[in-house]
């Protein structure tokens, strides 16, 4: 079963202290690579948590391949949707391959908690992500970039059709940012993996994602290609910061330049 389409239908969600998402409609087709952008608190993480079924919509419904997430068992969802969370730390001295093995949990059963298939998948994902050399290393001793790759490998070991990532490049240096995004683009293209990622960096989002969704105060205010979404008007409205949009000199994608306040170019 390959669950690759997401359908959010008039979804409203609030924590106890006010509305976080309001009347969100979002449809993601199989094979898309979608970037969620918007200021802090706009609802990007909440949207991801609704799709992964961690949160339940107060109104409206979230469907994955036509099935309402509320009616699905956790293990069923985990075989269709993998998540790379924003923060991740492990207690105790888990080794890299032991962390990746946790991605096989949805396939384990009380009398069958270790199989040759699990070991194969772990080896393959370590190879795909390029972390074979980290085998045997202690997770808590790795650098931020290495950790992010291990967590990505763990999510890939779930062998899902849909991958959700919450700011996968935050706190990484530019070489790791590019490495992670190249990897995602590659798996999207060759592995037919549907990807939805919350992105902090507008220019990286513009360079790597074919579709962007801009959130502000819990509502979608723009949805389309980077050219359609990254406009001076939409960005100024979402972030309340004057910006200038250029063409990237090499790729030709929109490139957002922040203008110092007091400069009247907006």
């Amino acid at each position: 079963m390959n669950m690759t389409t997401v359908n959010m239908n008039r979804v409203t969600f609030s924590y106890s202290n006010g509305a976080v998402l309001r009347d969100v409609n979002l449809c993601v087709q199989k094979g898309e690579m979608l970037g969620l952008i918007g200021p802090n608190g706009a609802g990007k993480t909440t949207l991801i948590r609704l799709i992964s079924g961690i949160l339940v919509a107060k109104q409206g419904e979230v469907q994955i391949d036509g099935l309402d997430t509320r009616s699905m068992k956790r293990s069923t969802i985990a075989r269709g949707v993998a998540v790379v969370p924003q923060q991740f730390n492990m207690p105790f001295a888990y080794r890299v391959e032991e962390v990746i093995m946790l991605g096989r949990t949805p396939f384990m059963k009380p009398f069958r908690d270790s199989s040759a298939k699990d070991r194969d998948v772990i080896a393959t994902t370590m190879d795909t992500v390029g972390i074979k050399h980290l085998k045997g290393r202690c997770f808590s001793e790795l650098s931020g970039g290495e950790r992010q790759k291990v967590v990505l490998a763990m999510a890939l070991a779930q062998e899902t059709g849909l991958l959700l990532l919450d700011e996968p490049t935050a706190h990484l240096d530019i070489s790791h940012q590019v490495e992670i995004l190249e990897l995602l683009a590659d798996m999207n293209e060759k592995g037919h993996l549907t990807i939805i990622a919350a992105m902090h960096d507008l220019n990286l989002a513009s360079a790597y994602f074919r579709r962007l969704v801009l959130l502000k105060d819990g509502a979608i205010i723009a949805d389309g290609s980077p050219d359609q979404v990254l406009t001076t008007g939409a960005i100024a409205m979402a972030y309340s910061v004057p910006v200038h949009i250029q063409k990237h000199p090499v790729t030709g994608t929109p490139y957002v330049v922040v203008l110092p306040s007091g400069n009247g170019h907006s």
């Binding site: 293990s75 985990a78 969370p85 946790l102 991605g103 949990t105 270790s114 202690c138």
Partner: protein
């Protein structure tokens, strides 16, 4: 770690445990040869008999007194070590031990109340002390769980806090009874012995009840080990890999509490085993619960069998509480392992 190494480790620990048990059965106020101990056990278990070359009194000592006690010690050690692994894994807290959410205070209050009751009262062949200690431990955890439950969720921090508060309250009640009850006065030493911990098994009756609970408990813990591994990702992370978090939390809590309560009912409050054995084994074998649970159970059993043997044999007369031995041996061994483990082991 490979499957084969898992099997080797478990077999090795099993051999160590059996050796410790035979040694502990042979040693005592009356020393009896190892091979005689083995022959006596063989005679009991098989249709083929060795000729009895030993005094019949020895056979009574071994089969009716020491063997049940040694087996009791092994069960208690296995149960406490397993419960320690469960609580540390579930709460992601290296300071967790089997008593962390109030089992000890509940058991102690239960035992104290039991000592106010007539000695003749019994339930399933047990005196009231083990029965009320068991009930107190399990009851306290249920209470803590429901106190910490808000809107269908039981956050771990709330549970730790509720457990802490309940412990304080139940301990205060226990000391209130101890200091104000004249009726308790003749048995106050028994209360302190319970608090310091000591295997108290008289014959096979108690073993027959406690053994199935503990053995089934450990098997369940091993079968659910892969779910406990997922809890290392945190609750949301565990949900991402398909764990029904609230349901599993309740099951692991119930399992850990019943194992602890079963142990406490025949041993009082033995400290340190449930804290140190899981850490020691985690340092040696890594944190994967699929190997950590069976190996901790076996190592905890062997450790407590030896500690109990020392508690019986070190003083020239009488016994010292085994809880004192477990702390005196356990602490230095643990510090050694911790320093040897170095920075790789993030406490």
């Amino acid at each position: 770690m490979g499957r084969h190494r898992h099997v080797t480790v478990v077999l090795l620990l099993l051999v160590i445990l059996v050796t410790c048990m035979v040694a502990a059965t042979a040693f005592g106020a009356v020393s009896i040869a190892f091979d005689d101990v083995l022959r006596m056990c063989w005679n009991k278990l098989s249709p083929f008999h060795f000729a009895a070359t030993w005094p019949s009194g020895d056979e009574t000592i071994i089969l009716q007194l020491r063997l049940p006690r040694v087996i009791g010690g092994a069960l208690v050690g296995a149960a406490l070590a397993t419960a320690g692994v469960l609580f540390q894994g579930l709460l992601r807290n290296p300071m967790a031990d089997p008593y962390i959410i109030g089992t000890s205070a509940g058991a102690a209050l239960g035992a104290t109340i039991a000592m106010l009751l007539p000695l003749s009262m019994a339930f399933l062949g047990f005196g009231m002390v083990p029965v009320l200690a068991f009930g107190g431990a399990v009851g306290t955890v249920f209470l803590v769980y429901y106190l910490a439950r808000v809107g269908g969720r039981t956050p771990i921090v709330s549970m730790l806090l509720a457990g802490f508060v309940m412990s304080a309250m139940l301990t205060a009640l226990m000391f209130l009874i101890i200091t104000t009850s004249d009726k308790l006065h003749p048995r106050v030493t028994s209360v302190y012995m319970f608090l310091m911990g000591g295997i108290s098994v008289a014959g096979w009756g108690q073993i027959a009840v406690v053994a199935p609970i503990i053995i089934v408990g450990i098997i369940l813990a091993r079968l659910w080990a892969f779910r406990l591994n997922a809890f290392a990702l945190g609750e949301e992370g565990a949900a991402h890999v398909g764990i029904d978090v609230e349901r599993n939390k309740a099951w692991f809590l119930a399992l850990g509490s019943v194992l602890t309560a079963a142990a406490v009912s025949i041993s009082g409050l033995i400290g340190f085993v449930g804290l140190v054995i899981p850490h020691a084994l985690r340092l040696l074998l890594g944190p994967d619960h699929r190997i950590l649970i069976p190996s901790s159970a076996l190592a905890g059993a062997a450790f407590l069998v030896i500690a109990d043997m020392l508690a019986r044999t070190l003083p020239s007369s009488g016994e010292i509480p085994v809880g004192i031995i477990t702390a005196l041996i356990g602490a230095p061994v643990f510090i050694y392992l911790l320093r040897r483990g170095g920075k790789e082991y993030a406490l």
